[in-house]
């Protein structure tokens, strides 16, 4: 499957991830159970939308409801939430601590990719950060990276870009 189609077919959509996180957050104050109205407020959408979206989450076995229309995460849903939160934390730590991205931007970007990042890439990112932090010489490397001059060579040729200047293209996008 082409990568973009794989992206579309991802079983945990951005919307589904946010519904699960909202149920987790709202429900944490009430023994795991959340009201549709509170989920709607949290997500700033209508109760009708939440109710319809919950049908899909229920079908996938991520949430359960009781006779009073209260909603809770199933064990599978709870596991998904923990995975999402872990990936968000890993991604944010990488953006802030390694790349030096400002925290507000890192928060937004990690939220965007938290449910799309594969388990493998999540593990490797974590390993990479542990690698950097595990030795004084590697920490020094990180410090050197932070002061690295981002200016490209005049001839616009480097090992990373291999023939076209990606920095120029990124700047153009901005």
């Amino acid at each position: 499957m082409e990568t973009w189609k794989e992206f579309e077919a991802n079983e945990l959509t951005h919307s589904a991830a946010h519904h699960l996180l909202a149920i987790h957050e709202v429900g944490s104050k009430y023994g795991g159970w959340a009201r549709v109205s509170d989920i709607a407020r949290k997500l700033d959408i209508t109760r009708g939308s939440v109710s319809i979206n919950l049908r899909a989450l229920k079908k996938r076995g991520w949430v359960m409801t009781d006779e009073h229309h209260m909603v809770a995460l199933s064990p599978a849903g709870t596991k998904s939430v923990h995975v999402i939160l872990a990936k968000r934390a890993v991604m944010k730590a990488f953006l802030v601590n390694v790349l030096g991205v400002p925290e507000p931007q890192a928060e937004i970007d990690s939220c965007k990719v938290e449910h799309l990042l594969s388990d493998e890439s999540g593990h490797r990112l974590l390993q990479f950060m542990r690698f950097l932090g595990s030795d004084p010489s590697r920490k020094k490397l990180l410090t050197r990276f932070r002061t690295f001059d981002r200016e490209c060579p005049d001839n616009r040729v480097c090992d990373v870009c291999q023939g076209r200047c990606l920095m120029d293209e990124l700047d153009r996008a901005i």
């Binding site: 109760r47 009708g48 939440v50 229309h69």
Partner: protein, 159 residues
């Protein structure tokens, strides 16, 4: 507790809640609009009037709420975030979705009622909406239980 005697923050809270209710109704209207075209199967033609009626009623409810907001001296603020998929749907499935939306609207009116008790105009309006929505939810529940659109069409023709 008349509107002119409401404290500013109380009035803003009530208007905020009315805006939410209006969004529920306006969104339900769009769902009915689109559900009509998603219907497939032998019941489709017979069931279409029910969804057309749902569209009309929810729009009327949204307008009635907008008028209440205007009576409180505010301009209605409609905020909905909706993307409706276009897959075909069987009648039972469409009714289940309509029931979900109507039940949520009913619950929203019920939750709001205690906030307007003592405000004659709003209280009467919300109580009337609860009566209408209760009846509507029951109609859909009956139709779903009957497993046939006939029951539903009867009620749609009466209104």
């Amino acid at each position: 507790m008349r509107s002119d005697t409401l404290r500013r923050d109380e009035r803003l809270d009530i208007v905020d809640e009315l805006n939410r209710l209006m969004a529920e109704e306006a969104e339900a209207c769009l769902r009915y609009f689109q559900l009509r075209y998603r219907l497939r199967g032998i019941d489709r033609e017979a069931a279409e009037p029910f969804f057309a009626n749902g569209l009309k009623e929810t729009l009327e409810h949204a307008e009635a709420i907008a008028n209440q907001i205007r009576a409180l001296g505010h301009i209605p603020r409609l905020r909905i975030d909706l993307s409706l998929s276009g897959g075909p749907m069987r009648l039972q499935e469409a009714l289940a979705e309509a029931l979900d939306v109507e039940q949520q609207a009913l619950d929203a009116y019920k939750d709001f009622l205690p906030r307007v008790v003592g405000h004659p105009v709003l209280e009467e309006f919300i109580r009337r909406q609860i009566d209408i929505e209760t009846e509507h939810v029951q109609e859909i529940v009956d139709a779903v239980r009957a497993g046939s659109p006939l029951k539903l069409l009867d009620s749609s023709n009466q209104s």
